[in-house]
Symmetry: C2
Subunit: 252 residues, 2 copies
DNA sequence: TGATATTTTGACGTGAAGTCATATTATCTC
DNA sequence: GAGATAATATGACTTCACGTCAAAATATCA
């Protein structure tokens, strides 16, 4: 199926990237409403109709941006779990991947949030929706892989049949969902909740990490949380992940 | 400051409620874009301009709906913590209050999510923003109160100076933030993530509860999680909270 | 090179937001 | 209670953007 592209088709491909490139900062800062097809076309140097040859509506552009976003996140996750360390270090590395993602690719993070609205989602094509789901699922499988590794290594025991353990009923997927809720939830609250500061949360990242560790400790994931060793690991991981980013990432 | 209202002013007050009543389901199902001032006016039996006497723009209506929402949530939280039980039971009751809120007042939940977008938030008045922040802060103070009660009762010990405990560095606010991230994050993912089912999460509520309990266990909050006793308590709390709701709540 | 297919164009129809001069209605004063 | 003044309601109007589509321009192919 690998046909050579005609010059025209190349041009069209390039234009599609260009559309996303132009739309990304606009959507990030002003949401769907700020994205004007008319203006986008004029910046692109084409007529409005041409853009509609690429995307049937504005929502589809946002979905395309979200797919791009989750692709990037998946890449960070995969790099994170490839680092050598204990299962607990590797799961922590994914948390750091999330932080790096939010800090260095903020426009993608915004796009990903926007698509999570029925209003937007409902107007997009089934095909691209499927693509997004696939990427998201891969992300979760990456996380699940580390949980399974932990179990295989004996660092984590779920469903202890013995005495009434806190882990009773937990499955691998529940652990993934828990980490996801806590990290994603915390990062979203950080960026959207006007009253977080009122609560007295100044370093929300540190709070999220501590909370994740509390949950993992509660599940009995070994070795237990050790603030000092943890901090060192985090710094190393962040350095590695940031270094792996292409040049278009935001400066930090 | 308690002046008697003139007949006209009463009418205006009533109309304001009516506007919110009409807007609520529309905003909930179709978002900001679905709310047409023209149609709202016609349903209300007035001209469009009249609505602009109440709210300077559509966004302000959504913010008003969100304030209403957080008011309701605060009420549920307050009822939850008033129930007699251990500190751990009372904190669990707040989790159930969240579930009841999402299930029985889904339109409010949606409005609360919508306002968390810069696009919407940025167009609203500072005054009403302040109102929302106040309500949100009260909610969090209610949660923080239970955490403090737990500490006072000796059920929870934060910042143990002794051996490297998982709780090192945790403050009361961090615990509140953690529960908030986990519960809110989980409930949002439940309602907006297309790939949760792919992951294999079928009963997300049960998963959220287990995860919260794992985190609290990790913090050493006593008494530790006991699935059986917990389940009974949950049922009782839900019954109480649902019964306290006014008639306009969704049937379950 | 001419025929056919693909792509581009931008004027057009539609619909909704927010404004504001004017009309209407309420309130106050004597 | 009638007239004056203040508050409120109205809806035509301006502005703006989406998405369409028939016609024009361009590319591909034989």
């Amino acid at each position: 199926m690998e046909t050579t592209l005609s010059p025209k088709q190349r041009e069209i491909r390039r234009r599609e990237s260009r559309i996303l490139e132009l739309a990304r900062p606009v959507v990030s800062s002003g949401g769907l409403a700020a994205l004007s097809m008319e203006e986008l076309a004029s910046r692109l140097g084409t007529a409005k109709g041409t853009i509609y040859n690429h995307f049937p509506n504005k929502e589809e552009i946002v979905l395309a941006l979200a797919v791009e976003a989750v692709d990037r996140r998946l890449d960070l996750f995969n790099r994170a779990v490839m680092l050598r360390g204990s299962s607990r270090q590797r799961i922590a590395a994914i948390g750091i991947a999330c932080e790096v993602y939010v800090d260095r690719l903020p426009d993608r993070f915004r796009a990903e949030q926007l698509i999570r609205h029925e209003t937007v989602w409902g107007k997009t094509s089934a095909k691209r929706q499927e693509t997004l789901r696939t990427c998201e699922t891969r992300c979760m499988h990456t996380v699940a892989g580390v949980v399974r590794d932990a179990i295989a290594a004996g660092d984590l025991v779920l469903s202890t049949p013995g005495r009434g353990s806190a882990t009773r009923g937990h499955r691998v997927e529940d652990v993934v969902f828990g980490l996801w809720s806590l990290t994603h939830g915390g990062l979203v609250l950080e960026s959207t909740s006007p009253s977080l500061a009122d609560l007295g949360i100044v370093d929300s990242r540190a709070a999220i990490r501590r909370n994740c560790n509390a949950m993992l400790d509660g599940l009995g994931w070994k070795p237990a949380y050790d603030p000092k060793a943890y901090a060192d690991w985090i710094d190393r991981v962040r350095g590695r992940l940031v270094a792996s980013l292409p040049a278009d990432a935001a400066p930090g």
